[in-house]
Amino acid sequence: MLVSAVLIGVCVVIMLGVPIAVALGLVAIGTMVATVGPDLLVIFIQRTYAGTTSFPLLAIPFFVLAGNLMNVGGTTERIFQVAQLCMGRVRGGLAHVNVIGSVIFAGMSGSAVADAAGMGVIEHRAMTKAGYTSRFAATITAVSSTIGPIIPPSIPFVIYGSLANVSVGALFLAGIVPGLLMAASLMAVIALVAKRMDLPRGEGLPPLPVVRGIILRALPALLLPPAILVVIFTGIATPTEAAVVAAGYAFVLGRFVYRELAWSDTLAVIWDSARQTAQVMFIIALAAPFGWVLVQQQIPNAVLASLLTLSSEPWVILLVINLVLLLFGMFIEGIAIMIIAYPVLLPVITQIGVDPVHFGVILVLNIMIGLVTPPVGLCLYVMAGIARISIAEITREIWPYVLALMGVLLLITFVPAISLWLPQALGYGVAR
């Protein structure tokens, strides 16, 4: 009874339009008052404070800052130019370039919405100029942006690692192959659609000196993704500190190398990044007491018992979890899903023998699919805003790509080695 009241209650309060952070806080307060009385609400404050000041979460403002500095400082534009070189005269070339650009940007930013809002503007403009419909360009940009938080660095992995006490380094490594698989699956669908829709061919390679110039100009930016991984895995910096390296590097590139970042822009970017961070951090802060309440009321145990009545087969339970997460993803914002789901599902997946790192990849991929599924898909909204078209128009085009991403999700769910072999091979913090 309490399980349903808390879990359904928080979803209803969120759907009614109460800000997500406040909804989590109100349900936690309500449950605490109903079960132990108002005297212990000081614990609510204590958990909120502890949830806010967790050290790994410091990565969030700096990865957001890095993404924003790259978008304003000209780095994103140069990444796109390099991606354009990769596809030559392939049919639907710029759509493929869009995906490749997102893969490269993913290695620097770790946020799907930063990709859609930054790279998205450049990609959409280039594609419509080359004769693609605005609707198609917006659709490809939205789906390709979901690769961002799967390939390291990744803000959702930082949040999951911090909440679930799982190695962020292992999660970063575990995301690399799934991220590349997502890109491959999207490019496969684009290749099929390109023939059917008779999409324009790419312009082909420019003369060699131009190619050399583009690569040389982009080289400092292209060094960032490997640099981030190297500083993390050689122990020079923790994943949190690596975010600072990324932000510092993005600033130096924009200000001193590409000279497109004015001092006045820098302050505006810092303030924007702080605000975007607060959108996430305020939710995380209130998620801490909410998670505490769930555990205190033994809600994860109740959910585990219910799931085990369905089947004791891990694959059935994982399938059910995926279906529930995908359904939630259509209506609720991703970080909120993660925060509601992890304390409930982590004991379940541990019980059925699924590695928490593997589950982290499954959880984040579900959330990413939620970003491009209507009616509540943030990347859809961002791209609809950039392309000045309706959500319904993008929605009509998006399903083949969403199905491809769901295919990757199933593959990753049932073949744990896709996520785990790399962290295991490098001996990096995986339990099994």
């Binding site: 339009g17 109460v18 952070a21 404050i45 806010t52 702080a274 975007q276 959108q279 939710i283 609720i332």
Partner: protein, 168 residues
């Protein structure tokens, strides 16, 4: 009177902005220094963890206050957008009342928590009230802004908005 309140509002908004930028830059400097000092251990940063914690809690609370003030905290508008104007206004009033109640809980119990702690940090000997106090201090202003929003919604002068989060 209105001019004084507007001036006060601008002062709060400006202070939030400047202080939050300072906190973020302070964190950047501290974390960057920590990396450099790991490679070149010339000295240690006194009270590193304490300073990071202090700047981080104020950064989060001040920027959350800024979003609260502007009415752009992330929310799902699915059903509200489908409602007729009168029902929508009633829902907005209920949401703002809920937000006011929530902010007041943060103020009352946040103050209790701040008073009860009586701790100082181990290295810099800073009173922990400066850390914990960020929650009730910012929540008190959130409560004030909830009242402002209630008035605005009730008089038909505005409604809360939705804003995208960059975490996804």
């Amino acid at each position: 009177m209105m001019r004084v309140l507007t001036g006060l509002d601008r002062l709060i908004a400006g202070t939030c902005k400047v202080a939050a930028i300072a906190c973020l830059l302070g964190l950047f400097v501290l974390l960057a220094l920590a990396i450099v000092l790991r490679l070149l251990p010339l000295f240690t940063i006194p009270g590193y963890d304490e300073l990071v914690e202090l700047l981080f809690i104020w950064l989060v609370m001040l920027t959350s206050l800024a979003l609260w003030r502007e009415g752009v905290l992330y929310r799902v508008m699915l059903f509200e957008d489908l409602m007729p104007a009168a029902a929508k206004r009633l829902v907005e009033i209920a949401i703002n009342l809920a937000m006011l109640g929530f902010a007041l809980v943060l103020v009352v119990y946040g103050l209790d928590f701040t008073r009860m702690s009586g701790e100082t940090t181990p290295f810099l000997r800073l009173d922990k009230a400066w850390f914990y106090g960020a929650i009730p201090a910012c929540a008190a202003l959130m409560a004030v802004y909830s009242l402002v929003w209630l008035w605005r919604v009730a008089t038909g002068r505005g409604a809360l908005e939705s804003s995208a989060t960059l975490a996804g």
